[in-house]
């Protein structure tokens, strides 16, 4: 029972790292980026490649995955995404689905369609029993990293100057740019950072979620659920939403395996019906 809770939390934390970049881009530019999973996949593949081909240690791979995905995000933002911001939601959806298809096919071409496996270092692969709760070391590691990230993100958002600029831009881009905030720069850095986080999540999740070319499509719905249920105005919303989702998904698959992912979809639809703006939306937002 507690083990399931623990696994669920680890899973939820991972989802949060994967999806929080999406929450920010959606909140900031009102841009529906269905290709977010592609950045996560990039991070995962970078890790797998670096570890198997170049023998880079796992801990070093994580920042590497972050950097590569962030760079990729920055390049794509400057070259492609910025042309699509002002367009209709339909176009944004088409554009990002197109990108996802391209990423999927390209990875398939270069890496093959089979699932990639990550050789975890020994000190992470064990499992120990603490007070009757089976705790996987790797999951504990994931939770620890994610907690650090959440705290860091929260501090950045609430304490630094960049954080306040970002929040201002999310709340009202026009007024913010009128106050001399360079929205483009804020958005570029946020997009790159969000992509980087996705990459980091992909690297961390390569072992737990499974990594193959269909990754962006398979988890697209999960990211969207997190964002839609959690709202885009803070990071607490997506965090709670992803924890909820993670626990519900793990528990659902454990107790009623025949129902599969069914419960998640139903919960999502019901939630969206009752609170179209998300569970944790702040009143008075746009």
């Amino acid at each position: 029972m507690l083990t399931i809770l623990f696994d669920g939390i680890a899973y939820g934390m991972l989802l949060f790292v994967l999806a929080c970049g999406l929450a920010v881009t959606l909140g900031l530019m009102n841009f529906i980026n269905l290709a977010h999973g592609a950045f996560a996949m990039a991070g995962g593949y970078v890790t797998v490649l670096a570890m198997s081909r170049l023998n880079v240690p796992f801990l070093l791979c994580l920042p590497l995955a972050f950097l590569v995905s962030a760079l990729l995000g920055a390049i794509l933002e400057r070259t492609l995404y910025k042309r699509v911001y002002g367009q209709s939601h339909l176009n944004q959806v088409l554009f990002s689905i197109g990108l996802t298809f391209m990423a999927t096919a390209a990875v398939d071409y270069f890496m093959g369609s089979q699932q990639q496996f990550l050789q975890l270092p020994e000190w992470l692969s064990g499992r120990s029993e603490i007070a009757g709760v089976g705790i996987g070391h790797y999951r504990l590691f994931v939770i620890a990293i994610c907690v650090v990230l959440v705290v860091a993100l929260q501090l950045i958002l609430s304490k630094t100057r960049f954080g306040s600029r970002l929040r201002a831009a999310v709340d009202d881009p026009r007024a913010a740019s009128g106050l001399g905030i360079n929205i483009n720069l804020v958005f570029l850095s946020t997009f790159a950072f969000g992509s980087g986080l996705a990459g980091l999540g992909g690297a961390l999740g390569a072992d737990l979620l499974g990594l193959d070319p269909t990754f962006p499509l398979k988890f697209m719905i999960y990211f969207l659920v997190v964002v839609a249920v959690g709202g885009t105005s803070s990071i607490t919303g997506p965090l709670l939403a992803s924890l909820l989702l993670g626990i519900a998904d793990v528990a659902g698959k454990y107790y009623i395996p025949t129902m599969g992912a069914f419960i998640i979809y139903c919960v999502m639809i019901v939630t969206l019906m009752l609170r179209p703006q998300g569970l944790f939306a702040r009143a008075g937002g746009k």
């Binding site: 492609l80 699509v84 939601h89 996802t100 096919a105 129902m259 639809i269």
Partner: protein, 339 residues
């Protein structure tokens, strides 16, 4: 945003006959339309083979037309239109397998069931933003996919529903191996439904849909029941998609999870975008281009044709559909700058 303008509707009341004449001119069937349908239906009697492809084309076209109804006319962005397509397909296959039902009757029942699902889920697309709608439609499609996957006693699960034998059409016309009957059947259904859709979107109801799409707030202020219009067109589109799915199941004698898959929803959206949304023929044109492109690309790179489809989507959006279909504007500096 909501600037009040003097609605020109008032003038219409003063000159109803002029308005009616305008409407008549607007909805008149043009010669090239007649030519197109004559060629399409005539192909069934003239061509020696290639009916399997044509049949698929007709079905995809119907599917795209159905998406056009909600996307092009009502402005509902749906990522889960395959839900209705798949439901129709499974319904038709099951009806044929267990009851040996006449195809046309099976088609009607499948359409009715899909429409019912559309009516029920239309509640879901009325609220919230584009993102909410996107997710809810996607969610509905995923739920159906999971259902079809898990209920393997009914649907055959991942193996698909096999052993569907169709009884002859009207008890007379056998579905032959070359697909001539199948194609004729599909194209006639497409033509009938197309002209019904054409009549609907050119009716006052269709006009009000466009008003709803362009500005829901103002539409409501003008006395259009926004939600009811959306529900109606969503139900209609669901029925259309159900018919398309049913046609596929009936003419191929097979239904598998593929009909509910996400790529169906994405593909049909792509077709509509290639052909252009909002004038019905866009769906047909898009389906033809898409299918030929898919065949051609998967001939060159069997496994990776998705890459090129993706590239096409990105190019369409980044360059703009308007510009892409008008090559003579490529080297002109934008029309007096971007709006």
């Amino acid at each position: 945003m909501a600037v009040a303008t003097q609605a020109p509707v008032q003038e219409g009341a003063a000159a109803p006959s002029a308005l009616r004449a305008l409407g008549a001119r607007w909805s008149r069937i043009r010669p090239f339309e007649i030519a197109f349908w004559v060629v399409a239906i005539g192909a069934a009697f003239v061509l020696p083979r290639g009916f399997l492809l044509l049949n698929e084309l007709a079905i995809l076209a119907l599917f795209a037309v159905s998406l056009d109804l909600i996307l092009g006319y009502a402005g509902i962005v749906s990522l889960g239109h395959a839900a209705f397509f798949g439901l129709g397909a499974y319904c038709a296959a099951l009806l044929a397998k267990h009851f040996g039902m006449d195809p046309v009757l099976g088609l009607l029942i499948s359409a009715a069931i899909s429409a019912l699902l559309g009516l029920v889920t239309s509640v879901l697309v009325m609220r919230g933003s584009d993102l909410t709608r996107l997710m809810v439609t996607l969610g509905v499609a995923l739920i159906l996919y999971e259902l079809a996957n898990k209920l393997d006693w009914l649907t055959g699960g991942a193996d698909g529903l096999t052993g569907v034998t169709m009884v002859p059409l009207f008890g007379k016309f056998e579905f032959d191996l070359f697909g001539r009957t199948a194609y004729l059947y599909s194209i006639v259904v497409l033509a009938i439904l197309f002209f019904i859709a054409r009549a609907i979107v050119r009716s006052p109801f269709g006009m009000s849909l466009q008003v709803v799409r362009q500005n829901p707030l103002r539409a409501a202020a003008m006395g259009v029941a926004v939600n009811r219009r959306r529900a109606a067109v969503y139900t209609l589109a669901a029925a259309y998609a159900g018919v398309a799915g049913a046609l596929l199941a009936q003419t191929t004698g097979f239904a598998s999870l593929d009909v509910l898959d996400f790529h169906r929803s994405a593909d049909v959206m792509l077709m509509l975008v290639i052909g252009g949304a909002g004038y019905l023929y866009g769906g047909i044109i898009g389906a033809v281009i898409f299918k030929f492109m898919q065949d051609w690309l998967s001939g060159i790179t069997p496994q990776y044709w998705q890459f090129w489809i993706g590239l096409l989507l990105v190019v369409i959006v980044v360059v703009g559909h308007e510009k892409l279909v008008r090559p003579w504007t490529w080297f002109r500096r934008g029309h007096g700058g971007k709006q």
